[in-house]
Structure formats: structure tokens, C-alpha cells
């Protein structure tokens, strides 16, 4: 094999990563060129004959804990100077230091990773094994309000980047010991802890196993973005539609667990996924169960309607105005004709350009800091739009059609789903400009075919509208029935406990 092809071949993953026995010298060698690796030599109660070395990573270990619970007892506890040397190690392990746990390690690999996680390692002179004490820092963002899913009537906490905080937020709401949390490590270099959560007896055990298998098979460098998990766990490459719904809200996450879904957290990503994902999950909000069922149902229907509007309106406008004008009511047709008379561009070009301009303005608004972003939106949307209409560059009807489609897209609770609709909106507009209503109908048929072909962890994406799971669904997904009538969990494919109330 040539040198180049060797470099391109995947490197085999080493387990353990740092093989071999532990020694202070080997540990120092591992962390050579690491400026944050620190080593402190301490005389036990001032006895120069008894020396201990404490190793830790600066910034990962909390200095107050290190000082108060490890270094202070080592320096001040007279028992450490008087105890027989043979018992010293066992004395430290069993309570001479004030740490919640102390673990004796003899291998290099676990000690190195414990230091990275914020523990300190205590070596005694003349011994190669060590004691590991957890003194990790807890510096992290405090639990705040969910910015993407604001709550008007409900809990205001949201997930943060710290995995353990997130699991504690869930555990506080779901006190049942049946809530299981299992941890996996993903990423060769990032070694990101990823937790799988489910309620034993409610969730589908096959889904849990499948998820864990897929997590184990992920062999990537690091989990720095949500896509690092999503695109490896589901076959996302063939579809722009999201297959893993996520939430920032612990209450909504817990509701998903109660429906029998399997939860997933990754350290450093302030959101939780719920699996399997079906299309209706992307239309639900955290507020659905807080509002009156009639209001929630009406809002749900509006969101579905808005999805159709954002998807179809540009294509429908092109098809009707360019190919099937007879389908437009006469008075509206007269207005369109009047507005279109002095516009030099074709309707197809106008709509596609306006759709593109809409995306550009939106992207510019997102990339700029808040106040400037708002200014760009106003400048782009109002001033340029109005000027373009007055200069007869675009017709007002096109501007209205594109704006309605754009605004309707913002009603999608899931940004990912909204983005997929935006892509398909372009495709349908192009098809409509080629074949009119026929092209649009073909595009819609293609979209339905595409959606029908998707599945998430064995559950068809369109499961709310099909019987693909062979499981009767208890309530229509378009509506939010009164809660006493919603007796069935529709998350799991198989469960021993499908009924959620008496």
C-alpha cells in the first residue's frame, strides 16, 4: 500500500487508548507539552520523608476543592505522618481526605481521562499506583429560559451545555426509578459523553438497543454540532427533512419520554433529542398541552395549513398566472393583469428572484448582530420591496405571494422542518414554472413519495397518517384532543404499557 493510501485509510481505534501500567513518569509523558497539566509535591504533615505528588489539569479541577479537601488534609493531618508507611495508602483511600470518592488505579488510561474530567491523581513516593479524587469544577452556564421555544404558560427552564445538569433537570421531573440513563462516549478526540434516557417498561426496548448500537458504531473525531449525531444516527443524507425532533425544554422532553420515546443528550449541546421522530412531532409545541384543547387544536391546524401555504403558494402563483389564468377569479385576474403590465420580467423569473431575495435578507439578518439585523430586514423587506414595486421591477402580487409564503414558514415550531420546506418550495416553484399545475402536482406527488420513504428508528415518518407501524393510534395527530381522551402513547412501536391513564 502506498504512503498516500495509508494516510487516507481510517485509523484503527485503539482500546485502551493509553495501554500499559501507571507511573508518574508515564503520566507526565502523556501530558507533556500540556501547559495546563499541573503537579504539586506535598510533604505529609511536614514530614520530609513522606512525600506525595498531586496531579491535576488546571481549569478542569476546581482549586478550592483541591486546596480544602486534598492539599490541606495532606499538609495538616498529623495522622498521615504517624501512620505506618504500609498503611498510608489505604488510610488515604478510606477517608483521610475529604472527597466523595477515592478510587485506586493501576492503569494509565483511566487516570489520564479522569484528570481530563477534572479529578486529581495522588501518587505516594515509591508507588506506581495512585488514588483518584473527583474535584471537578462546575463552571457552566446557569439554567435559563428556552430562547427558541418561549413559554407563555409553563416552565421556564431550558437545557444547558452540561450533560449532568440536563439529566438532573429530567430526573427532577421524572422521579420514578424506571427512568434509565445510560452513557456512551462518542468521538475519538472529543470523547463526548452521550446519554440515552428512557423509561423502562414504557419505551420500546428495541429502539433503545438500536440507538445504542448506532451510537457505538459512530467513529468520528468529535461531537461539536448537533449534526455530528443526527447525521450518523439516522439516514439524513437523503432527505432535508429532520428525522430527530429535539427540544430545549425539559417539560417537553419529559412528555416525550412519557409517550414512550427514547431521549438523547450530548455533552456540550443544550438540547435533547426524542426518538423515533415522526412528522407530527415537528408541528407540536411545548404549549400545546398548556392551552385549552380547542385553542391548541385550532393552532395545530393553522400550523399544518401554514406548512401547505409556505410550500405551495409560490408554485401555485406561477402555475395559475402563467399557465392557468382561467382558474383565477376575474376580479383578481384584472388586478394581476393591471399590476403586471409594466413589469419587464416574466412571472417565473420574478417569483424565483423574490424567493431568493427573501432568503438573502433572512440570511443577512441572521448573520448580523441583533440591532443591525433588524435594520437590514427593514431596509431589505420594506424599503427595497416598496421601491422595486414602485419602479415596476416586480409586481405587488408576486411580493405578496412570496411574503405570505415566507411568513407562513415562520410558524413552524421546528426550524429544521421549516428549512426543509424552504428547499422544497424552490423545487415546487421550478416544477410549476415548467409544467404548471401538472408540474406542481407531480412535485407534490414526489414530495409525498419522498416522505413516505423516510423512517426513523423503524417508524415511518408519516406514521401519524399511515398504519406503517401496525399499531392503532389513539388520537388524530392534527388535533390536540382533551387530555382525558388521549389515552394512548404513540411513541413506541412496541410497549408493554400503551395506555397512559385510567
Amino acid at each position: 500500500m502506498s504512503e498516500r493510501s495509508e494516510a487516507n485509510a481510517p485509523h484503527p481505534r485503539k482500546e485502551p487508548r493509553l495501554p500499559g501500567p501507571l507511573s508518574l513518569a508515564r503520566l507526565e509523558e502523556v501530558f507533556s507539552d500540556c501547559v495546563d497539566f499541573s503537579k504539586r509535591e506535598v510533604y505529609l504533615h511536614g514530614d520530609r520523608q513522606r512525600k506525595a505528588v498531586v496531579c491535576y489539569i488546571d481549569g478542569q479541577a476546581r482549586s478550592e476543592r483541591l486546596n480544602d479537601y486534598v492539599l490541606r488534609p495532606l499538609a495538616q493531618n498529623p495522622m498521615l505522618a504517624s501512620a505506618p508507611e504500609g498503611e498510608l495508602f489505604s488510610l488515604l483511600e478510606r477517608g483521610a481526605l475529604y472527597a466523595q470518592s477515592a478510587k485506586r488505579e493501576t492503569e494509565l488510561d483511566p487516570v489520564a481521562f479522569a484528570l481530563i474530567d477534572g479529578s486529581c491523581a495522588l501518587f505516594l513516593e515509591g508507588r506506581d499506583d495512585c488514588l483518584v479524587f473527583p474535584v471537578a469544577t462546575e463552571e457552566k452556564r446557569s439554567v435559563g429560559e428556552p430562547e427558541n421555544e418561549p413559554a407563555l404558560k409553563g416552565a421556564r427552564d431550558s437545557f444547558v451545555e452540561s450533560l449532568r445538569t440536563n439529566t438532573s433537570l429530567v430526573r427532577r421531573r421524572m422521579r420514578a426509578p424506571e427512568l434509565k440513563i445510560r452513557e456512551h462516549v462518542v468521538g475519538r478526540q472529543s470523547l463526548t459523553p452521550v446519554d440515552v434516557l428512557w423509561i423502562d417498561g414504557i419505551a420500546d426496548q428495541n429502539t433503545v438497543e438500536l440507538l445504542e448500537q448506532r451510537l457505538e458504531s459512530i467513529d468520528i473525531d468529535g461531537v461539536e454540532a448537533a449534526g455530528n449525531l443526527e447525521e450518523y444516527l439516522v439516514d439524513a443524507a437523503k432527505s432535508p427533512f429532520p428525522l430527530m425532533p429535539y427540544t430545549q425544554r425539559p417539560d417537553r422532553f419529559c412528555q416525550g419520554l412519557l409517550e414512550g420515546r427514547v431521549g438523547l443528550f450530548a455533552d456540550g449541546i443544550p438540547l435533547g433529542w426524542l426518538l423515533p421522530g415522526t412528522i407530527d412531532q415537528f408541528f407540536k409545541t411545548g404549549q400545546d398541552r398548556a392551552y385549552h384543547w380547542l385553542v391548541a387544536s385550532a393552532l395545530s391546524l393553522i400550523r399544518w395549513l401554514c406548512a401547505l401555504i409556505t410550500l405551495l403558494v409560490p408554485g401555485l402563483y406561477i402555475a395559475l398566472v402563467t399557465f392557468h389564468p382561467e382558474a383565477i377569479p376575474p376580479k383578481l385576474a384584472l388586478s394581476i393583469v393591471a399590476a403586471k403590465q409594466e413589469v419587464p420580467f416574466s412571472t417565473i423569473f420574478e417569483v424565483l428572484i423574490m424567493l431568493l431575495a427573501f432568503e438573502v435578507i433572512q440570511e443577512a439578518g441572521l448573520r448580523l448582530p441583533g440591532p443591525i439585523g433588524a435594520t437590514v430586514s427593514i431596509l431589505g423587506g420594506l424599503v427595497v420591496g416598496n421601491a422595486a414595486v414602485e419602479a415596476h421591477i416586480v409586481s405587488p402580487a408576486v411580493l405578496i405571494a412570496v411574503a405570505i409564503a415566507g411568513v407562513a414558514g415562520y410558524t413552524m415550531p421546528s426550524q429544521d422542518f421549516g428549512n426543509a420546506l424552504r428547499l422544497w418550495r424552490f423545487l415546487l416553484a421550478v416544477l410549476a414554472s415548467v409544467g404548471g399545475l401538472f408540474g406542481l402536482a407531480m412535485g407534490c406527488a414526489g414530495l409525498i413519495y419522498h416522505l413516505a420513504g423516510l423512517e426513523s428508528f423503524g417508524v415511518p415518518y408519516l406514521a401519524p397518517f399511515t398504519t406503517g407501524t401496525k399499531v392503532p393510534r389513539g388520537h388524530p395527530s392534527l388535533l390536540r384532543l382533551p387530555l382525558p381522551a388521549m389515552k394512548w402513547r404513540d411513541g413506541p412501536v412496541k410497549t408493554r404499557n400503551r395506555r397512559n391513564q385510567r
Binding site: 402563467t322 399557465f323 376575474p330 393583469v337 403590465q341 413589469v343 404548471g436 407531480m442
Partner: protein
């Protein structure tokens, strides 16, 4: 489903739909939308007049007058094509909502026009059909001037839906009647007002076969409306014991029954139920007075029906479909006389019974 089936299915669908290609795109900005079409006879064959009605121009919508296009050619299709060449815009026939037929053409036959409307890709049988009485459709359209006649015809149609104008009929309804009953009726209009600038309702034109048989006016027209199942704009005046009373008729429903003797129709019985309400009176009516009013109204309504039936029988045109309605109870006998029903309709004695409820 197999992957290779995916492109195959739409292709199959396309072939089965009879499509030979994708539809042609046409920008609406350079279209002249015809709203009204008039058809007359002419020395060349047929005369077509199209009107766009008042048009808006530009985004401010400053008004432009109605565009009137005319062509006299040997056939409808050639005339329509000729109209295309007269405008600087593409003339689009898909918005023709009003079809005016001149009396001359109605005398010659309206079937070719209706056939053309049924077959044409842009025109449709949903257009309202009117007959211009004692004049040509071209004159009627020209009389509208810059404002066109579209809004006037639209108003009559809306009034008709509310029961305050005479019946309106679509080209499709007339076409169906001609095909099924062999006769039909069309609301008639005539230029009125100063210089004939306004089109006014003038009863109904009765078609036999496909050509004009005559007109029903006044009481006979009201009688036809009652036979056809309505009571349009009908306020009856009466004087009961010196008390002047106005009664607004709100509903009329006629049931027909055909009697047979020896397989031949022996009588056509019409039972008409009319409902009305007192609109005006000088003093409250007593029960005997109310009964007297009821009998007077019944006599008036009966006279209307008799007048209408007299003319319809004279022309042999059962355009209210009385025979077909009556046949529901006697299907076997009806099948035997169905073909010759126009002749039987002229001969069969008619018994009319009217019941008025106030």
C-alpha cells in the same frame, strides 16, 4: 416499491392523460381578458363582438375604457381567430362570463354557438346566456360604451340570486335543456334608457329545437317562473273590502302529474303551491278577509299559469320540463311517449290548481 418504477409511473400517468407536451406559458401582463361575448348573424356568416369591460392599468389602477373587438366571418372559430389579430394583447377567452345572442341568430339557431362554447378549451358553458330582443348583441355591447355592459349584467345576475330580478341561465343549462327537452328558455334583454345605454329585462325567449319560438312577457313570464320553480320579484296587489293589500310572494313550487288512458296522455295536472307574506295593508285582515284575499291571489296566479301554458302549448315547448317531472311516477308510459311528447304537450288538456298560503 422498486426504484425504477418511480420515473415510470409519472410517465405512464402523463401518457394516460393524453398529454402530448407541457402546457404553454403565457404572461398575464399582455392579456386582454374578454368578459362578454356577443354573437349575431351577419352577411358573412357570423358576427362576433367581444368586450373586456373597463380595465385597470398600472399598479395605481387608473381606469381604461372597455376594449371592444369585432369580427364578421364565416364561422365562429375563424371570427375568434380574427379577433386575436385585432388587439395588441393576447385575447384570452377564459373569462367570458356573459354570452349575448342577437335575435337574428336565435331565429337561425343557437346550437352552433353552444356547441362551440362546449368544445373550446378556453370558453365554457358556465357563461350567463342572454338574448337581445329585437336587436343585435353588437348593438347591445356598443351601447355600454366605455363602461361596458359587464357590471349591469353582473348586477342582474346577483339580483336574480336574491329573487329580485328574473331568472338567469347559464349556457350550460340552456344547452342541457335543448338536448334533453328539445326546447329551452333564455332571459331576454333589450336596450333601454337614453340612447339605449342600459340593458333592461324583457321577459324570456323560448327556444324550440334550437331556434327562437317566441317571447313570454308580463304575466306569462311570471307564470313560466312559477312553473320553473320560483317566484321572482313578485308582489301582488289586491283590494279586500276596501283594504288595499300588497302581498310579496316568497316561494312557488309546481308539481306536475300526467294521467294516461289507454297508454295515451289524457291530462296534465299542475298543482302549484305559492307562499307569500303580507307586505303592506291599511288595516289588519280578519279571517274571512284573509280567505277572500287568498282566493283572489289564487285566481291571479292561476291566470298567470294559464297564460304561460297557453303559449307554451301553442309552441309545443315544455321548457319547464313538466312532462319529465311527471314521468317520475309513470316511467313505463313515459318511455312510450317520450319521443313524441312535444306533440302530446300541445294537445293534452291541462288542469291547474293553485294553493296560496299567506
Amino acid at each position: 416499491m422498486k426504484k425504477w418504477l418511480v420515473p415510470l409511473l409519472p410517465a405512464l400517468w402523463l401518457l394516460m392523460s393524453g398529454c402530448t407536451g407541457l402546457p404553454a406559458a403565457r404572461e398575464m401582463g399582455d392579456m386582454a381578458l374578454l368578459r362578454t361575448m356577443g354573437v349575431d348573424v351577419s352577411p358573412a356568416g357570423v358576427a362576433i363582438t367581444g368586450s373586456t369591460g373597463p380595465r385597470a392599468k398600472g399598479i395605481q389602477g387608473e381606469g381604461q375604457g372597455a376594449l371592444i373587438l369585432e369580427a364578421d366571418r364565416e364561422s365562429l372559430s375563424v371570427a375568434c381567430l380574427a379577433i386575436q389579430g385585432q388587439s395588441d394583447s393576447y385575447v384570452f377567452f377564459g373569462y367570458v362570463e356573459q354570452l349575448l345572442v342577437g335575435q337574428g341568430l336565435a331565429e337561425r339557431g343557437v346550437r352552433p354557438v353552444l356547441d362551440y362554447f362546449a368544445r373550446d378549451a378556453q370558453l365554457g358553458l358556465g357563461a350567463q346566456m342572454w338574448l337581445v330582443r329585437a336587436d343585435t348583441a353588437r348593438q347591445a355591447l356598443a351601447a355600454g360604451g366605455d363602461q361596458g355592459v359587464e357590471s349591469r349584467l353582473e348586477t342582474i345576475r346577483n339580483d336574480s340570486k336574491m329573487g329580485i330580478a328574473q331568472f338567469t341561465r347559464t349556457a350550460g343549462e340552456v344547452y342541457t335543456d335543448l338536448l334533453e327537452l328539445g326546447c329551452g328558455y333564455i332571459p331576454a334583454l333589450a336596450p333601454d334608457g337614453e340612447g339605449g345605454a342600459v340593458l333592461a329585462e324583457r321577459g324570456y325567449a323560448i327556444l324550440r329545437g334550437e331556434s327562437l319560438a317566441g317571447y313570454l312577457d308580463g304575466e306569462a313570464a311570471k307564470g313560466l317562473e312559477m312553473l320553473a320553480g320560483g317566484a321572482q320579484t313578485d308582489i301582488l296587489q289586491a283590494e279586500v273590502a276596501g283594504n288595499k293589500v300588497s302581498v310579496k310572494m316568497t316561494m312557488a313550487h309546481t308539481r306536475s302529474h300526467l294521467e294516461f288512458q289507454g297508454g295515451r296522455p289524457s291530462s296534465l295536472k299542475l298543482a302549484c303551491k305559492v307562499e307569500g307574506r303580507l307586505a303592506e295593508y291599511e288595516r289588519r285582515l280578519s279571517d274571512p278577509e284573509r280567505q277572500e284575499l287568498k282566493e283572489m291571489l289564487e285566481r291571479q296566479e292561476q291566470a298567470r299559469l294559464e297564460e304561460a301554458m297557453k303559449w307554451l302549448q301553442a309552441w309545443g315547448t315544455d321548457c319547464a320540463g313538466l312532462g319529465a317531472k311527471a314521468a317520475a311516477g309513470r316511467p313505463i308510459q313515459w318511455q312510450r311517449i317520450r319521443e313524441s311528447w312535444p306533440e302530446w304537450f300541445s294537445q293534452v288538456p291541462v288542469e291547474i290548481r293553485v294553493e296560496v298560503n299567506i
